[in-house]
Amino acid sequence: MTVAAITVENLTKSYGDVHAVRGVDFHVEEGEVFALLGPNGAGKSTSVEILEGHRKRSGGAVDVLGFDPETGGREFRDRIGVVLQETVVEKELTVLEAIQFHGDPYSKRRDAEELIEIVGLEEKTTARVKTLSGGQQRRLELALGLVGDPELIFLDEPTTGFDPSARRQAWTVIDNLRALGKTILLTTHYMDEAQNLADRVAVIARGEIIAEGTPDTIGADRRDVSIVRFVFNGDASVLPVDAVAGSNGAMEVKTREPVETLYALTSWAKQSGVALDGLTVARPTLEDIYLELVGEEENGGDA
């Protein structure tokens, strides 16, 4: 049987008349990596910060490691690790001092030098925080989230601002945490990150969860679609298939019958002597599904 590390029921949060979170339900099991996806302002940080104990909820029930985050206090915070969306570290301290400063109050502490190595800041160990680049400060923030050797880790956009190789490195760090049995709740705008890291994802838009599942099965009925893409520098209406035109002649056809579509398209192309440059057939990625879900929500949402 699995045990829930986080349970959220009908969570709501309003800032005056801004209803940032409107009745969100989800749970994260122990040892699971759960990703919250959603556009800017969807309510991701608000939800996560309620679970961290930084904000008070307006309504609903929340259980994190058996605590109510609002009243959990020191014992609760000793068991969680927090990476905030905004990096905030005392800029006059050095990297090493900052990790020690934030690590001091935990009952278990990871070795500071080892953490610095894990996030790849060895060369900056004695550099002042104010001299670090934006991405380096984010890496330090990640180290601060891990310094107390927490069993549950909140990562709010942990790799925003990372260069591609640093992002891969961070994924390895997160994978290693998973191997140690840690529970992770992360938010991200990078769909490849969610695809690579998350056991389950939820898409949140306008404060509501609009889809939930594993990265490979979320949006189930949209999965049976194949996407045919090619370049055609002409009027889409002459094509024998229903294509959506993008920029520079990029065409996209969504179809549930790829064989039929391809046959119609290629036989027409052969007859008319059209090249169909860059012709591909692909399954929808998590990003395609995400864009579709969020796009529909934004167009069709009447709230």
Partner: protein, 275 residues
């Protein structure tokens, strides 16, 4: 890590941060010293008529009090409000650090800085301006000083809580501290010409009690033939403590950890400048 060690290490970090910030260090330590040089230059180091003390003997202790109040009240109010804007307080609240330990670290560091900058002021006075120190009043001066800076540290945290953001904190501290300093015998020696109600007003606040009872310990007329007990001015200490207790209750009530709506982080701000 024991709570005691935790507090001690917090004080150490806060000290590091303070001394690495040249602007804050300058305003707290060097600024009051400049007042001292200027006042003794303008008035000459003669006896101030009717007071029985030289210019330096008067200003040494009162400006030491001013320096100590800058180190506690002004510094804590501005430093804590900026730290809140920057999200540093929120970051700290993400860890199991008990809030009071963090605040104790800030207060402890401010008190240490107050001792250093008041010590420099009196040291310069003794070495270069013939300021005298009297054994009989030392203990009373020390206790008065400790109570005074503790009270102003608490009031600094109260002001940090009341400031909407880090930009308003300097204006609020200056608007409260400077006028008070002028009527509290800190910048201007007591004079027979001043209306009596002015010192009555000043006596409602803690600064004059701090400056006058601390200054008394350096007054040769007061110290000759006095006993150790004469330098514990219970009324002054009582008024200060009352401000401290009420201030502490209100400070806890108004203290905020999260950045407030409309406040901007001081990411690129290098020093804590005052308007």
């Amino acid at each position: 890590m024991s709570t005691f060690t935790l507090v001690r290490r917090q004080i150490k970090y806060q000290n590091l941060v303070f001394w690495r910030n040249p602007a804050a260090a300058f305003f707290t330590v060097v600024f009051p010293l400049m007042f001292f040089f200027v006042f003794t230059l303008i008035f000459g180091n003669e006896e101030i008529p009717g007071s029985g003390v030289t210019t330096a003997q008067f200003y040494g202790p009162t400006l030491a009090v001013f320096a100590a109040v800058s180190a506690t009240y002004t510094n804590l109010a501005i430093g804590t409000a900026i730290a809140r804007d920057d999200g540093l307080l929120k970051r700290v609240r993400s860890t199991p650090m008990p809030p009071w330990v963090y605040l104790a670290g800030r207060i402890g560091s401010a008190i240490e800085i107050a001792f250093i900058s008041a010590g420099i002021m009196l040291g310069v006075g003794v070495l270069f301006y013939g300021v005298n120190i009297y054994a009989v009043s030392l203990l009373g001066a020390l206790i008065t000083f400790v109570i005074g800076i503790a009270v102003f540290a608490v009031l600094g945290l109260l002001l940090a809580g009341l400031s909407p953001n880090g930009n308003t904190a300097p204006a609020l501290t200056n608007a409260t501290l400077l006028p008070l300093a002028f009527i509290s015998d800190v910048f201007i020696p007591p004079s027979a010409n001043a209306p009596a109600w002015l010192s009555t007003v000043a006596d409602l606040f803690p600064l004059r009690h701090f400056a006058v009872s601390f200054g008394k310990a350096f007054n040769p007329l007061e110290t000759t033939g006095a006993s150790v007990g004469d330098f514990f001015d219970l009324k002054s200490l009582g008024v200060m403590l009352l401000w401290g207790v009420v201030g502490a209750i209100l400070a806890l009530r108004f203290f905020k950890w999260n950045p407030q709506a409309g406040s901007k982080p001081s990411k690129r701000r290098r020093g804590r400048t005052r308007t």
